[in-house]
């Protein structure tokens, strides 16, 4: 009578016969985990801010904000308008991707007037003389339920006339 413990199949449990794929699978999974973490270090899942700029004769618009955020994350957007010519009613027009399923904690400085239409949020500021820069800081939090890609364009208007715009896409991770 064999003294091999019951339930033990030596070729399988000692010599790993027919189990080579399992070992490769394990290595593959660990490699995937490593890549996942490396991708996070390289900002694949946010939330390092990127700066984009659009210029025109009258003004330059600059946006610094993360393009990838995760649910629940607190982050900040900085929008800068540098006026080369006088702007009577500088208005920042944000796509609804900025606000849909997102909590806006503060907007500093507060706009003189805030309006909206179904697709945009419009922040109008007092007149900007030539050579001046207006920096607007928006503190945001991504709602955890919001997952996917959103248009988060920003445009600068002066009394209904577009001066500059930046096309942006924001990706929200779960």
């Amino acid at each position: 009578m064999s003294d091999i413990p019951q339930g033990i199949d030596l070729p399988r449990h000692r010599d790993f016969e027919g189990k080579a794929a399992g070992q490769w699978l394990r290595h593959g999974f660990l490699l995937l985990l490593t890549l996942f973490v490396l991708a996070a270090l390289l900002n694949a899942f946010g939330a390092r801010p990127q700066t984009e700029e659009a210029g025109a004769a009258a003004a330059t618009l600059k946006v610094t904000a993360p393009e990838r955020v995760r649910g629940g994350l607190l982050y900040q957007a900085r929008l800068e308008i540098h006026a080369d010519e006088a702007i009577g009613a500088p208005t920042l027009v944000l796509d609804k991707g900025w606000i849909e399923e997102t909590t806006i904690n503060t907007v500093q400085p507060e706009p003189a007037q805030t309006t909206s239409d179904p697709k945009h949020l419009k922040l109008r500021y007092p007149p900007l003389p030539p050579g001046r820069t207006l920096s607007v800081f928006i503190s945001l939090q991504a709602n955890p339920n919001d997952v996917g890609t959103h248009n988060a364009d920003v445009a600068l208007y002066d009394a209904g006339e577009e001066i500059a715009s930046i096309d942006r896409t924001q990706v929200n991770f779960p």
Binding site: D3, G7, I8, H13, R14, Q23, F29, G71, P144
Partner: protein, 147 residues
């Protein structure tokens, strides 16, 4: 609905992680492992419930995880072919007093750890061991040589 999906995703990820990490990491509970367990639990909880502080949310998350645990267990019980995938298989570490090095290496187990396991079973020398088997729960079982 999203809390059920989040709980299921986290369950699947943790299940895969536990199966792929190697069972020794899971069974040996050194003080650092206990701390790590608490930290992982806390991190997972935040991912599952996020800003939902409701009792309904907690019940949903726990129910989802409980149901999936039963499902895995039931599948393992009913489908014999899936059992090695879902639960793993025993691995022979010692045969006739001799350590099987490639199997130890495969599971990242040192000879000292096997010796420690043997001491816990009142076995003074690995030479007395006929079989040592790493079980699916991460514990090492020892069968002594017949006198």
């Amino acid at each position: 609905m999203d809390i059920v999906i989040r709980a299921a995703v986290v369950f699947a990820f943790l299940f895969l992680l536990m199966r792929m990490l190697g069972r020794r990491e899971l069974s040996s509970m050194e003080p650092f492992d206990i701390i790590l367990l608490v930290v992982v639990g806390d991190l997972v909880q935040q991912g599952v419930t996020q800003s939902d502080y409701s009792v309904t949310g907690a019940l949903l998350a726990v129910s989802t995880i409980a149901l999936l645990t039963v499902l895995v267990s039931w599948t393992s019980f009913r489908v014999r072919k899936l059992r090695p995938i879902l639960e793993g298989e025993p691995i022979v570490l010692i045969e006739d007093g001799e350590l099987i090095e490639k199997n130890l290496r495969r599971q990242r187990i040192t000879a000292e750890e096997v010796e420690q396991g043997a001491r816990l079973e009142q076995i003074t020398s690995l030479g007395e061991v006929r079989w040592a088997i790493l079980e699916t729960n991460g514990q090492i079982s020892f069968v002594e040589k017949q006198q």
